[in-house]
Symmetry: C2
Subunit: 212 residues, 2 copies
DNA sequence: GCAATACACTCCACCTTGGAGTATTGTCAA
DNA sequence: TTGACAATACTCCAAGGTGGAGTGTATTGC
């Protein structure tokens, strides 16, 4: 199914949580909160919102601030039905796109500085995710978050994102240490260390055949 | 920059690691090893390989297996230069696309079963990543892997991927427990648990809890 | 009062996907 | 040895989707 079919349903979901949204608020929400797990171009939001109205899943309303127009959207009963249907549908798989890791994969072909730049980018990516948590988390703790009634699910999302971020940062830490060690190690030591790391990672999931 | 510019460089990187590759081998490599951090359509591989030849970064060679033709590629000196230039370039940010998490985000609008299906998908995604590690890891340990000389960087990649996978699976485990608990909890208890979870995540990075 | 920033969109060139289409060659088993 | 099925080896392209430029107006801070 189209990516934007999902985006349309994401918008529908937001509309279901609150009486009215302007397109700008919708884009802001997607930029700020959902960016890290459902990143989409802003032009699509405008597009999909209109599409929702076309299909009768939402109603739009024009208003003005001085000369400047604005459109606000609200969900319709059909929209709520559609949303429930979609939620009952099987989810799409998760995908990760990590160009820095590609650079590490090809690391022997570049310089040590290249490798470190890639690792640093991963760390920055993790920090960027954390930055949102730093804002959103305390809002929930203090009860000032806009969707306090969504606390329980938002806690799950925050848990995902902070662990994802932590994974990135911790990997960057470990990798930098490994890179530092390389300069002091013989080939043999480096190989031994690499094998130990691989073994470590495999060992941490002993039930390798658990998938059967 | 175009995504496929990166893809072209990824191919160039593979070509730099071995004398000759057929397009099929290239696609297989991207499907099997690089899929989880640089997922790309197969038709693009064919496209980009041809582009590389057009720009003088690779040479192609036709051969036959019976009547069936095949093209193999090898890197050129210009190609090696290009690859080094690219590796010295700043990496693009990491992105995650996790539709199941979007469903959790909107979880209050669906059923408990919907939520569990989303969590299950995340677990499956983690297992899928682990499955590659289960094959590739032992190959390196036993010395039967095709690029044993790349051991050190591959260990870093494997470390990233197994931690990513583990993050997904552990999150699924925690989330399922939370979901189980919901059925036995009062609203108050649920809120308390959610707040505790948020606090937990914030605390794990002290810089975060400093915020008001 | 002026600059910067936020709001409110539209437009579209170019990129990318993913699946269908078309073959031939290996492999395993009945 | 024949037939089925998987693997190899591509091409083609319709239907998305992106991201940034373009065009304004309103508000905020200094």
């Amino acid at each position: 199914m189209r990516r934007t079919a999902t985006t349309a349903n994401a918008i529908l979901g937001l509309l279901a949580l609150r009486r009215e949204w302007s397109t700008w608020e919708l884009t802001k929400q997607l930029r700020r909160n959902m960016r890290f797990f459902w990143p989409r171009a802003e032009s699509q939001i405008y597009e999909e919102a209109k599409g929702l109205v076309g299909k009768g899943f939402a109603r739009d309303r024009q208003s003005f601030t001085g000369k400047r127009g604005r459109t606000t959207y609200a969900i319709s009963p059909d929209g709520r039905k559609q949303l429930k249907r979609w939620l009952a549908t099987p989810p799409k798989p998760t995908t990760l796109e990590c160009e820095p890791l590609l650079r590490v994969f090809l690391g022997t072909l570049g310089t040590d500085a290249d490798l470190r730049a890639a690792v640093a980018q991963v760390r920055a990516d993790g920090e960027a995710v954390l930055d949102v948590g730093r804002v959103v988390g305390p809002e929930y703790l203090e009860g000032t978050a806009p969707f306090q009634d969504q606390l329980a699910v938002r806690a799950l999302v925050l848990d995902f994102l902070s662990n994802h971020a932590r994974m990135l940062i911790d990997w960057a830490d470990r990798s930098e240490e490994v890179l530092d060690a390389w300069s002091r190690q013989s080939d043999k030591q480096r190989t031994a260390a690499s094998l130990a790391s691989i073994r470590d990672n495999l060992d941490r999931y002993p039930a390798m055949s658990a998938t059967t």
